[in-house]
Symmetry: C2
Subunit: 385 residues, 2 copies
């Protein structure tokens, strides 16, 4: 099996791009990556996307985007794993290079969510949940997370305001990210006052939908230095799954797929959670950030929220998360999010994170979650010095 | 890179399964494969599906199906490449085993199309085409193929009745397949009389939509004989792409991605078209079968239709196609079709094709097409004696 490295990244600002079609969004990110370094040959392209059919009336994104960026003919498919689609596409790219079947691979993610009516997007997002047993009962994707958050608060005696630290941190970091959708500060007081979405989740617990695209170029590590001075090596790539429906889990407050996925990744990388210099977490809702920190070994059960309260998730904290704004501040174009997370880890490891740069940054992790924890994809990356 | 073999297959009859949800359909096929041989551990599952979101309100099929068949925890994602989704999922499974990242992999395809209203399915199928430049002009997926067929007839002086042989052959073979949707004979006279769908394509030029699912279990060739006496070795797996929109191609009557994909596969397998004992073609429409035979090297440009006229595609012909009924006779549950094709090649190579068995069958090819030829996936398999 071949070792794999990332030799280029590309991303566009997350936002409302009404003037561009989904193929333009993807192309802008992919061409930005190819502008960083162009290996003269691309063998395959894997595109993460959740809802292009529902939101834009377009499936078949692999061939569509490959052609539009001038790569007509290459292997190209779309990968879907709800909000985990982006990192799942990176996983496929990793497999393609690791196997030896492809040398130069583009892994990208794209989502266009702001052209369609809100109810279409709400319905499409709910397709990440169980259509027969959750959605059919009237649950939306937000309300499923609200059930989780309510249970967490009840079980561990946590108050809603205790989650403020996640949102304050994410927005603070978004201010240093030119690609962030909401680069504005949020105070703990504002967090508490925000309007309710699905009790107890309010507007500032929730990540915003948006249009966005991000891309990576992967190649065998042994070739990487021909194309960049700062290759980033993928130490581990792992996917794990859980039941899609919340009620089918033994303990809804344990994200077991996040646990399994992180454990596999730690084992493959030969590290522990202590060795990580940053963690791009999937903070679609504040409750998800808390549960994920617990599942990945940064906090004991019921204690994830304390990391935010104690300031341990800041850029100079014990485990910096959402270092470029996270899903909350950068925005959450669902099928692209997992690729943005990896792009941001690469920026940090390269030392190109600007005002948000973490000092002595050697190893970073990105974890992308589909649904309420049913598909979890973890990548661990390191600087190659 | 590791050599990969197929150690088990499963499929359900294509039809109108109103009593079963999409997860039940997939599970029936996967459990049938696991019943053939259960390697005690499954590492990953790749599910081909095009339109579960549009047709059933359910995305996130990877985790959903993995959990439902008792494999909660394993790596699982959905792969989409329009009607090519099924074989694209097999390609991902092939990569996973070839890379060494996984030893035992399920590759499946599933589609549930008969519960939703016809106009929903027509719209969903059209998402295989270019939403901005084809569908927005009022083209449906059938009418795009009608444009191709009309042009073919004009360019090469072919009459509509000349295509009858494809349909007669497919339905004749479907009669020997217990999983076929339409195991009824069709005569050339009936073919000509069938009602028009999109001139010149009539009902009997067209494959039927349906509910269906099929699955394979893959593992390293070196382990395959521990699990089956009849392992089928994958000699080649290849994907190629073309423009999604027909008008963007230099020559609409050349399926360039089918050509590229077949050439890559022949080269990887070290064979030529002459060496194939059967070819499961993507006969979604009779015109597609003709164009595909040309692209894959069985006939010169404009001559593909002659193979059907001359009886060369029958079970004892020069190149048997649609040996178990093809898309026309077995049915075309779009995201599952590519897996059915491979399952059928395996049946032939194992000598388990019953009344439809091809004599001295050693090497078979399956080619799955997404859209009007924008994504083409080719697999070549051989019997391991």
């Amino acid at each position: 099996m071949r070792d794999v490295s990332i030799i280029a990244i590309g991303q566009i600002a997350v936002g409302e791009h009404w003037e561009k079609s989904i193929r333009h969004l993807a192309a802008d990110a992919i061409l930005a990556a190819l502008k960083e370094t162009n290996p003269a040959r691309i063998d395959a392209m894997y595109i993460g996307n959740m809802m292009s059919g529902e939101a834009t009336g377009q499936e078949h994104l692999g061939a569509l985007i490959a052609d539009f960026v001038g790569l007509r003919g290459v292997e190209a498919v779309k990968i879907e794993a709800a909000c985990g689609s982006g990192a799942a596409a990176v996983r496929m790219g990793y497999m393609a290079v690791a196997s030896g079947l492809s040398d130069f691979v583009i892994a990208g993610g794209v989502e266009k969510m702001t052209d369609a009516p809100g109810e279409v997007i709400t319905a499409a997002l709910a397709m990440a949940a169980d259509a027969d047993y959750e959605t059919s009962q009237g649950l939306s994707f937000v309300s499923i997370n609200a059930l989780l958050m309510r249970r967490y608060m009840y079980e561990f005696g946590v108050r809603h305001e205790d989650f403020a630290g996640f949102t304050v941190n994410a927005h603070k970091n978004a201010m240093g990210n030119p690609h962030a959708m909401f680069p504005y500060p949020v105070t703990a007081a504002k967090f508490v006052e925000a309007r309710m979405i699905a009790d107890p989740i309010n507007l500032l617990d929730s990540s915003p939908i948006g249009d966005g695209a991000a891309a990576l170029i992967l190649c065998p590590t042994e070739l990487a230095r021909q194309f960049t001075d700062k290759p980033i090596r993928i130490m581990a790539s792992a996917i794990a799954t859980d039941s899609v429906a919340l009620h089918d889990r033994r303990d809804p407050l344990t994200l077991n797929a996040a646990f399994l996925s992180a454990q596999r990744a730690y084992s493959l990388a030969g590290i522990t959670a202590e060795d990580l210099d940053l963690f791009e977490a999937h903070d679609a809702f504040t409750i998800m950030a808390a549960l994920e920190l617990e599942a990945c070994g940064f906090a004991a059960r019921g204690q994830g929220v304390r990391l935010a309260q104690e300031g341990q998730i800041g850029l100079d904290g014990r485990i910096p998360i959402s270092t470029m704004g996270g899903l909350k501040g950068r925005g959450h174009p669902v099928g692209a999010t997992g690729v943005y997370q990896i792009v941001e880890v690469v920026q940090q490891l390269r030392g190109e994170a600007g005002a948000n740069q973490i000092k002595d940054c050697h190893i970073g992790m990105a974890q992308n979650i589909g649904g309420s924890g049913a598909t979890v994809i973890t990548h661990i990356m390191e600087r190659s010095d």
